[in-house]
């Protein structure tokens, strides 16, 4: 019986040790944001890339802050996020090779139909936020150091509102992803800053609608960066760069522009033409 037990142990252990073999196919890990995954963009464009290249793309969708941390630790081959200052810092520190423009959309301020702060139709985002603060209308913040959260903090700063002081009162930090924060906003009847892609594809809008849009300060550019193989030797530089090259190529840009929900385009390709 002891023998049978140790035999079983051997079998299970062997299975366990053979596990890494599951990941033997040609693949890269892309650390990206929840907006690209939750909006369905990756579900649409990745099969096209995989068919063209034979490289499987594994997306870990987290907030921009966590995605950068993953890439910094060498746990991803490619970083695909949306907070330009952080991206430029990532490259400047030698953690990434080079930043490429890929696409953009914009942020929108959403809020309940009743519009307690009276901001609907405004096109000056910081001024609208100042009105939300003045009315002490509930605002649901990501509070997770994501690209959207960093953008929101920047807008509050322009509006000269100290949200730190209001945290837990009318300013609610959910500490979670875009969709979860929209769920909270929908439940609380709160205002929230959302990227248009996630907003359009979000299925539980409830009483929420777009209150403020069209401010050029709500511009939301996405960049893609290869993690520096000089820092982490295991980074799959060839496959990772192949993915980046495809994203900025005509085929990749076309695929991004084609992705629509209910006839509405979510992301606008803006890669610089090669050689320019």
């Amino acid at each position: 019986m002891v023998n049978r037990r140790s035999l079983m142990a051997g079998v299970v252990l062997a299975t366990f040790l053979a596990l890494p073999a599951w990941a033997q196919e040609k693949s890269i890990v892309v650390a990206s944001t929840t907006s690209t995954e939750n909006s369905g963009l990756f579900g649409y464009i990745l099969p096209k890339f995989e068919a063209a290249s034979g490289i499987k793309v594994k997306v870990v969708a987290v907030g921009t802050g966590q995605a950068i941390k993953l890439a910094k630790n060498g746990d991803a081959d490619v970083l695909f996020v949306h907070h330009r200052p952080s991206e430029e810092k990532f490259v400047a520190e030698g953690l990434g090779v080079k930043r490429f423009d890929v696409m953009y959309n914009n942020f929108v301020l959403v809020g309940p139909k009743s519009d307690p702060a009276g901001v609907r139709g405004m096109t000056d985002a910081p001024a609208a936020l100042a009105k939300v603060a003045a009315a002490k209308a509930v605002f649901a913040s990501r509070g997770d150091d994501s690209g959207t959260h960093k953008k929101e903090r920047g807008l509050w700063k322009i509006a000269k509102v100290d949200v730190e002081a209001a945290s837990g009162q009318w300013y609610r930090e959910t500490g979670s992803g875009m969709g979860a924060t929209l769920n909270t906003a929908s439940g609380l009847g709160a205002y929230a800053l959302a990227d248009r892609g996630t907003w359009l594809s979000f299925a539980n809008k409830g009483d929420l609608e777009i209150a403020v849009e069209g401010d050029r300060r709500l511009f939301n550019p996405y960049g893609v960066i290869l993690v520096n193989p000089g820092k982490h030797a295991h980074v799959k530089a060839m496959e990772g760069q192949a993915f980046i090259d495809w994203l900025v190529s005509d085929a990749g840009q076309k695929a991004i522009g084609e992705y629509k929900i209910n006839g509405l385009q979510l992301f606008f390709p803006n890669a610089k033409k090669m050689g320019s």
Partner: protein, 234 residues
């Protein structure tokens, strides 16, 4: 209310049509959790029995720790395993992060204290009952451990099922170390979290219903097997 009824419809539809994405996710959930629980049982059953039977320094501390760790927060286990398996961590060279292997390691750590603590209790109870017999046989320490584990195998099944329940239901650890990668490390619980964050509450709940059905089926099968092996309990 609408989402609730829609969820049952969706769950039924996914089950009846054997939705390809669903079977893939269910398959991975089962493979990861079964392997994790299997490994945890191989380590946890002898460990629990040893705590119940042997006198050794630190035994009481170990017993307390095992009981306390039954309540380990999955997200903390996930974080620790991430830091170990990260390319910048001590075991980074294995390249296990964001693979099912990493998820198995995390779930195994989560389940091990549950199986060990519960089996310690079971074996301790049996020891009282068998004490005289074992003494009359002059059984050695290893033989006592093996005998009691074997004779308690039907009760120990409960400990293993408790561990399985924990493994199949947790989301915090597999989310961090698996990454919820589509067609690679996405399991039932992380898929539910994803659909919730997409605002598709009906689909999320539908997946939840499938998960619960799955857990019930596994438990029924396990108890059915026990009853076949031990007919007087059928």
């Amino acid at each position: 209310m609408n989402d609730l009824t829609a969820a049952f419809g969706l769950a039924l539809q996914m089950l009846l049509t054997l939705d390809a994405d669903l079977t893939e996710i269910v398959g991975l959930s089962l493979r990861v959790s079964f392997t994790a629980v299997g490994l945890a049982a191989l380590l946890g059953l002898p460990l629990g029995a040893a705590v119940a039977l042997y006198r050794f320094p630190g035994r009481r501390v170990l017993a307390v720790l095992l009981n306390a760790f039954m309540g380990l927060p999955p997200v903390v286990v996930g974080l620790v395993v991430y830091l170990m398996l990260s390319r910048s961590g001590p075991l980074g060279v294995l390249g296990l992060l964001f693979t099912p292997g990493a998820m198995i390691v995390a779930q195994c750590l989560l389940v091990l204290p549950i199986i060990a603590a519960l089996s310690a209790q079971t074996v301790a109870d049996l020891r009282e009952e068998y004490d005289e017999q074992l003494r009359s046989l002059a059984a050695g320490p290893l033989q006592r451990l093996v005998t009691l584990l074997w004779d308690g195998r039907f009760s120990l099944l409960t400990a293993i099922l408790a561990g399985f329940g924990r493994a199949i239901a947790e989301v915090g650890a597999v989310m961090i170390v698996g990454g919820n990668i589509a067609h690679s490390t996405r399991v039932m619980t992380t898929a539910i979290a994803l659909e919730t964050s997409k605002g598709d509450l009906a689909l999320a709940l539908g997946l939840g219903i499938v998960l619960i059905a799955l857990a019930v089926t596994v438990n029924l099968l396990a108890l059915g097997l026990r009853d076949v092996a031990r007919p007087q309990y059928a």
